[in-house]
Symmetry: C2
Subunit: 275 residues, 2 copies
Amino acid sequence: MDTKSENRSFGGTQGVYTHASKTTGTDMTFALFLPEEAATGPVPLLWFLSGLTCTHENAMTKAGAQQWCAAQGLGLVFPDTSPRGEDVANDEAYDMGQGAGFYIDATQDPWSPHFRMETYITKDLTDLLAAEFPLDMDRQAITGHSMGGHGALTLAMKNPGRFRSVSAFSPICHPTASDWGRKQFTGYLGKDADWTGHDATLLMKDRGFEGPVLVDQGTDDQFYDLLNTGDFAAACAARRQDATVRLHKGYDHSYFFISTFMEEHVDFHAQALYA
Amino acid sequence: MDTKSENRSFGGTQGVYTHASKTTGTDMTFALFLPEEAATGPVPLLWFLSGLTCTHENAMTKAGAQQWCAAQGLGLVFPDTSPRGEDVANDEAYDMGQGAGFYIDATQDPWSPHFRMETYITKDLTDLLAAEFPLDMDRQAITGHSMGGHGALTLAMKNPGRFRSVSAFSPICHPTASDWGRKQFTGYLGKDADWTGHDATLLMKDRGFEGPVLVDQGTDDQFYDLLNTGDFAAACAARRQDATVRLHKGYDHSYFFISTFMEEHVDFHAQALYA
């Protein structure tokens, strides 16, 4: 693992690191915030999965999360959104290929050799974080934005016992019913594959989540009709899921929305992580 | 208007009053809490509409709302849930007739002479409160429980500009799709009447609400399947309504649930009323 940068931030350290991932077959970059408390012992870990076109950097610099994680004594990791490199397949579209890994393991050419973000997140990066940093891996929670909200909700439900709480900002809630989802699942998994295990609304209907769920969505989101928040809310109600879904008037899809409600998300996770 | 009782409460006064209603053709009883601030000028008004079998008294004694309305300087009125008396039609069932007015105006015999709770609330009681008490009627908000949650949501959407915010505890969200609704609408309005204007989910789809909406629902509610929270949440999402829907793990349909979240509802309304 190489340290690319470390900066003091809210009494803790904001670092950026690179490591070789066996799963993606590439070098991968991630950012990790550690609060002051990490100097004296392991701290709980919150994951933030980013959206289409993002790297590890967007949320690190624009979500305003460090101040609240510092206040709650939480570590916060920002993974990249896909493998990258000249030898890695790509697509001209912003929503396919590099920057658009969708937090699943591709099974179709040309994507399958490198696009295995689900295993990368849940195995490679998890193992590295546990080995290299003072993190209490028995206390993990997960959040994310848009494609990363899809990632957070689906990884939380796919891995029972792994995350104590899950939240999302403007998540892709029902990808099998959206152009943000069908296109990528067709490319990465194939049109005849079973997609149901990668769809938050279908996972909620099928199994739910053992902890609390929080979803925030702006009503002026320019991608509103791709996100299907109502389908997920209805699935939560049908499941009797411990869940809060909030529709915020006038907010859009940007980091200005995310940063506005970040404090409440961090507090939500802290309540579960310290319970 | 007759004063039945007045008790000091949280620095203000909890009163119970009776008046003759032209609309119901009966004497009607209601409870009104006025905070300390009402001694020196008009205060905003929050309505609490109660559920099946309740009178003005249940929420007054069990919801724990006075402390939070005192803290926020709000008046709080608890109307009765139906006309009452020996000359008023009734039904042996707990969910029909006296104690079950459903906040609509009946058009069918034997109910139509007295069961006109919609007009009673929005006209008779409103006019009386404005005339007799130091209330700022330009600042009104509304909440309620179960059948009263249905009442709050529907009256808020039926009367644009009247209420600045609306919330509900375990509301009947979709009465035209529930045994709590179809039975009563059949009796009060007739099976061939147009019920759509009295259904919160359908009103949300059709017109929405100009202010914020908050709905709380317990996942262990013994009447969960009669309430259709998911339908209302999906309608809010489809409408891009400023709305929060929360599903609270382990809570049931009782006043123990209501009192747990009352502070947040009063604060929610205070934010809208003082904006």
